[in-house]
Structures are given as structure tokens and as C-alpha cells.
């Protein structure tokens, strides 16, 4: 295993200044689970791992055809956790199955690591699938095999010699924290443990990408968090690309770097999770976000705001903070700079993946030009502002 230290200015995560990066050129072996540095850039290789081009899937069911996916184009970068969120029936399950060609697209292409999946024959497709791990909502473990042999299963399929395979299984079980359950049958495991076995199984053949089909949807919130932690850990330490589908914005919030929103068989929005959280471009995205982050001002607070201020113009705004700006006293600076008052009606702070994300509902009171200037000031300082209620005179109500 060799790590070469190189210098480069390119790469999505390295910022504008050249930074030394670690380049992994090791041979794939049982040592594969050795951590790879977090911000690892695969110099000289394509940045994009999965490319989906104009993908359409039509199911020919009687009496009518059902269009499950329409003109989907997406690309997934190496080493990222890419989320696809949609309501049930939106087509996300079909989409993830098109990636490993469990469903054959009606038209369009899926290109993984430069390989067009449609161009492969049966044998080549099987080999390609060995390098695409998949985990499932219902875990799909074999009840006829114990934990150890379940993880052994993909290695048998790939024809790995038994001693080598056994060593790999032990390593994987250790990795997911189930070494003590090796001889236990799936029926005796909890949901979270089953999914850990599923993850170990999916990693056995050292895949290029891990597909997660609603992997946490059958789990309780705590277990969901621990499984997502494990996935993030795998992503960080192995540099493994993960594509996950979910209907739960919490999963996107906690684990994903980028997200695609799928609605009515098409992708309606793609972007950084943070920017979609702070500035959702579609109603469907907004509804997913609102389902998990309380943004609505409670009725009684709104009512109080209306009744207590009787002389001034006031405006109700919502301010979103992301990352670094969450730590700066922007509001306090604003109040010092402009002769207005601010009444905090509601606020909360959350995390999107590892970045703090907060929102605050403020009632700004004072002269109208000053309020407008203050809002511009907030925008200049990188805060997202949404006006909930325009300036109004309390006295007229």
C-alpha cells in the first residue's frame, strides 16, 4: 500500500489554495479497510463515478403503460454521499435499480466508472454488479445462513478462495461491530443488527459504490442514526461513494453531501444539501424540509406580535444561517448599525451533515427604509432571508 503525497489545486473539496493530498495507489487486498484520509482526491482519474443520461423507464403493464422515470440526468461524484429523496411512487426505487440494471432502462444510459451498463453482456454485468454493493429496506438476509455465511455469500458468488474469504468476513464483521454474532441466524437479530450484516455483505467485494434502498426506513430513529453514522464512517474511511434513496429528509440532512429531489418521475431539483435546506427551489423540497425543521411561527406568537406593537412599522422575517455565519453576531451588528428593534419570535439550530444550520424568525420594528436597509445588510452578510409578512402598521388593524 503506497500513499503518494502530491499537490494539486483541483478538486471539489480543496478550496482555492493548493493543498497536499494523499493519493492512494495501494493494491486491493484484505487491508482495504485501512482508512484513507478524509479529503482524498483521486488525481488523474475522472471525478464523476456514476453518470445517468436521459434515463427513461416505462413499465408495460396492462391496460396502460406506466412511466416510472422520465428524462433523468444525474451525476454522482467519487467519494460523495448522494441522496435521492421522493415520496413513495415518485420513482426513486426504480431509479436506484436502474443504476445496477436490476431494472433495464427503457432509454438513456447509466455509466459507472466509464462503463456503460447497457453495453455489458450477462457475464460482464454480473462482474460489474459485484463491484456495486446494495443494501435494502427489508435487509434481505438469507434465513438459511448465519451471519458469517451471509457475509460470505457475495464472496462465494465472486469465487474468492475460502481461506481468504473467511478472513475478509471476520474483518467486515469486526468493522460493523458484530463479531460476537457470527454464528447467529438473522432471525435472532434486531433490525439495526440485520442492516449492519447487510452493510458488511454489501462491502464484501470491495465495491466502487454502495446503493442504499431505503436502508433505514424500517428502523427506529436511534437505530437510523447509528446506521447513518456507520455509512458516513465507511464513506470517510474507505472513500466509498454512496447513493441512497429515502423519503425521509432527516436521512438527507444527517448523511448526504448532495441531494436530488424526485417528483412525478422527474428530477425537480439537484444541489448541495445545505443550499437546498437554506433555499429550496421547489414546493416539494420545501415540504420535505418543513416536515423536519419547524419553521412555522406558532399562531399564538404571531398573534402576540400583532397585538403588542401599536405604533411602529414592523416586518416579520425568517433568517437562515449556514455554517460559519451561524457563529457570527450578525444580528447584533445589524442592531448596532441601524436604529431598529428586533424581536426574536422563534429560533432553532440544527445540523445538516456536519454543518450547523439555524433559522430565526424575527420581527423587525422601526422606520421602513431602515428595515429594508437592515435586511440588505443581512443578505450581504450571507444570510438567507425570507419575508413572512411585509411591513405593516399595527395601528391600522
Amino acid at each position: 500500500m503506497i500513499f503518494l503525497i502530491e499537490s494539486t489545486a483541483q478538486g471539489k473539496s480543496s478550496g482555492s489554495t493548493p493543498v497536499p493530498i494523499l493519493h492512494y495507489r495501494g493494491n486491493v487486498s484484505s487491508k482495504e479497510l485501512t482508512p484513507i484520509p478524509e479529503k482524498c482526491i483521486f488525481f488523474g482519474e475522472a471525478r464523476i463515478l456514476i453518470e445517468i443520461r436521459d434515463l427513461t423507464k416505462v413499465f408495460n403493464s396492462t391496460p396502460d403503460q406506466i412511466v416510472a422515470l422520465k428524462d433523468i440526468s444525474l451525476s454522482v461524484d467519487k467519494g460523495e454521499i448522494f441522496g435521492i429523496i421522493g415520496l413513495s411512487g415518485a420513482g426513486k426505487s426504480t431509479l436506484i435499480r436502474c443504476i445496477n440494471h436490476l431494472e433495464k432502462p427503457t432509454s438513456g444510459a447509466v455509466i459507472i466508472d466509464g462503463q456503460n451498463m447497457a453495453s455489458l453482456n450477462q457475464q460482464e454485468l454480473r462482474l460489474a454488479r459485484q463491484k456495486i454493493g446494495m443494501i435494502f429496506q427489508q435487509f434481505n438476509l438469507l434465513s438459511s445462513r448465519n451471519v458469517f455465511d451471509n457475509v460470505m455469500f457475495p464472496l462465494e458468488i465472486a469465487g474468492i478462495p475460502r481461506p481468504q474469504a473467511r478472513k475478509k468476513v471476520e474483518e467486515l464483521l469486526d468493522w460493523v461491530g458484530l463479531s460476537d454474532k457470527a454464528r447467529v441466524y438473522p432471525e435472532q437479530l434486531s433490525g439495526g443488527q440485520k442492516q449492519r450484516v447487510g452493510i458488511a455483505r454489501a462491502l464484501a467485494n470491495e465495491p466502487k459504490v454502495l446503493l442504499s434502498d431505503e436502508a433505514t426506513s424500517a428502523l427506529d430513529p436511534q437505530t437510523t442514526r447509528s446506521i447513518l453514522r456507520l455509512l458516513k464512517d465507511i464513506n470517510r474511511k474507505l472513500g466509498l461513494t454512496i447513493v441512497l434513496i429515502t423519503h425521509d429528509m432527516n436521512v438527507i440532512k444527517e448523511a448526504c453531501d448532495r441531494v436530488a429531489v424526485i417528483d412525478n418521475s422527474t428530477i425537480v431539483e439537484v444541489g448541495d444539501v445545505l443550499s437546498i435546506f437554506s433555499n429550496p427551489g421547489t414546493n416539494i423540497s420545501r415540504s420535505f424540509i418543513n416536515a423536519i425543521i419547524t419553521k412555522e411561527v406558532p399562531e399564538e406568537i404571531l398573534h402576540r406580535a400583532l397585538s403588542t406593537n401599536i405604533e411602529q412599522v414592523s416586518s416579520l422575517i425568517r433568517v437562515s444561517f449556514i455554517g460559519p455565519s451561524a457563529g457570527e453576531p450578525v444580528i447584533s451588528n445589524m442592531l448596532q448599525k441601524y436604529a431598529i428593534k428586533a424581536n426574536i419570535l422563534y429560533g432553532n439550530i440544527d445540523r445538516v451533515k456536519d454543518t450547523p444550520f439555524g433559522n430565526l424568525t424575527l420581527e423587525l420594528m422601526g422606520a421602513l427604509p431602515l428595515i429594508n436597509a437592515a435586511m440588505d445588510f443581512l443578505r450581504e452578510n450571507g444570510l438567507e432571508i425570507e419575508v413572512l409578512q411585509d411591513a405593516y402598521y399595527h395601528g391600522e388593524h
Partner: protein
């Protein structure tokens, strides 16, 4: 009827009767052995034919791993056609085939041919039902790992359906006990021949009843054994 009701009556009858009829006892023993032999071999043969047939029926079905509608429909019709033949008719129809395979159409070995032939399509449907119980997710998981059809059959379909398949084996064997008695009437040997020639033709009612008792024990035994094995396979997984 009153003989069946009280088990003491039967055992008394059997012991006293056996005392004076050592020859008859030997005949019952011989016939029981023949029945067990016929049933065991034809169960094995019917699975040899029926199990692959079931696998093909399942995997060529709609949306399955080797979908092939024409083949699926042809096999399905063939299985249905064979199953719709009453066994007694099949026995007669199979005589030329039996002669060709065994050399004779009479005796224990000869009965195995029509018995296996009759049970095979039944087994095919039975195993097909067991295989169809398997959650599609398991097959999908295996496909996602790059498993071949052969690997899916051997490592997913059969092992996952095994407890259910084992229960099917006892159902088949019990059916074959009944069929073997019918074959016995056409000179097939075993308990059927004994009951028919001695019990019915020669009015040896006690032979008839002993046959009935032996058959009940046999059927009960097969069922208990099947349940035990299936439960053991299942329990191992719990």
C-alpha cells in the same frame, strides 16, 4: 367398527391371531417392507423429476430470473395434463413404458414406474409453491451481488425453501402410500396386494384390518418424521 374404536381389542386380536399364523405374520412383514420400499424409491424418483421441473416452472415464470413464457406455459400444461389423469388410468397407460424400462409390468419394482410418474407433476406443483413463497427481495439481493441463475437456485431458492420442501416430501410420501395400494391391486405388491388378495378375495377380514393398522402407523410415522425434520431445519435458523 367396534374393532377400530378400542385399541385393546385390536392388539388382543393381533397377538392371538399372530400366535397361530406365523406365516401370515411373515406375509404382512414382507408386504409392509415392499410398500416402504416402493414409496421410498418412488418418492425419491418423483423428486428427481419434480424438483428440477418446479425450479424451471418458477424461474421461467413472469418477471423471474430466466423468464420464458412459452416454455413456462408448455411445461405448465404438461404438468396439469398429467395431474388430471386418475391414477388408476395412468397405471394402465404406463404399462408399455413400465415393460420397456423394467421388463415386466408386475411386481414391486414395476410399480415404481407409474408411482414416480404420477407423483412427479404433483411434486413439481408442491415444490413450485414452496419456491414461490420466497421473498423476491432475497433473489434481488443475490442478483445485485452478481449471482448467476445457477447460484441463485442452489444458494437461495432451494436452501430458503427447504423447510417447506421437506414438509412437501412427507405429503408426497403419504400420497404414494395410497397410490401404492392401488398399484397393489393390479399386482404391484406390498400391502395393497395383501389386502386385496387375502383380505378381500379370500375373505380374511383380519388381514384387511391388520393392513389398515399398518398403513395408519406408516402414514403417521411419515408425517411425524417430516414434521420433525422440517422443524429441525427451521429451529436451526432461529
Amino acid at each position: 367398527m367396534h374393532i377400530i374404536m378400542g385399541s385393546i381389542d385390536i392388539s388382543l386380536l393381533v397377538t392371538s391371531w399372530l400366535g397361530d399364523n406365523n406365516g401370515m405374520f411373515q406375509a404382512v412383514l414382507q408386504a409392509s417392507w415392499e410398500t416402504i420400499y416402493m414409496v421410498a424409491i418412488s418418492t425419491a424418483l418423483s423428486y428427481l423429476i419434480g424438483l428440477p421441473l418446479a425450479v424451471v416452472l418458477v424461474i421461467t415464470g413472469e418477471g423471474h430470473i430466466l423468464e420464458n413464457q412459452p416454455l413456462n406455459r408448455t411445461l405448465g400444461s404438461l404438468v396439469n395434463a398429467t395431474r388430471s389423469l386418475p391414477f388408476i388410468i395412468l397405471l394402465i397407460l404406463a404399462i408399455p413404458l413400465t415393460r420397456w424400462i423394467v421388463g415386466t409390468s408386475i411386481g414391486t419394482v414395476a410399480s415404481i414406474v407409474p408411482l414416480s410418474l404420477a407423483a412427479a407433476p404433483f411434486v413439481a406443483r408442491l415444490v413450485e409453491a414452496s419456491l414461490k413463497e420466497i421473498d423476491w427481495g432475497l433473489i434481488e439481493a443475490a442478483l445485485s451481488m452478481g449471482a448467476s441463475s445457477r447460484q441463485i437456485i442452489r444458494k437461495v431458492l432451494i436452501p430458503e425453501a427447504l423447510p417447506s420442501i421437506v414438509l412437501g416430501v412427507s405429503i408426497t410420501a403419504i400420497n404414494l402410500v395410497g397410490y401404492s395400494a392401488m398399484a397393489g391391486i393390479l399386482g404391484g405388491g406390498g400391502l395393497g396386494t395383501l389386502a386385496y388378495y387375502h383380505g378381500y378375495m379370500r375373505y380374511q377380514t383380519e388381514v384387511m384390518w391388520i393392513t389398515v393398522v399398518v398403513l395408519i402407523i406408516l402414514v403417521q410415522g411419515i408425517q411425524v418424521l417430516g414434521n420433525k425434520i422440517s422443524a429441525r431445519v427451521l429451529n436451526k435458523r432461529r
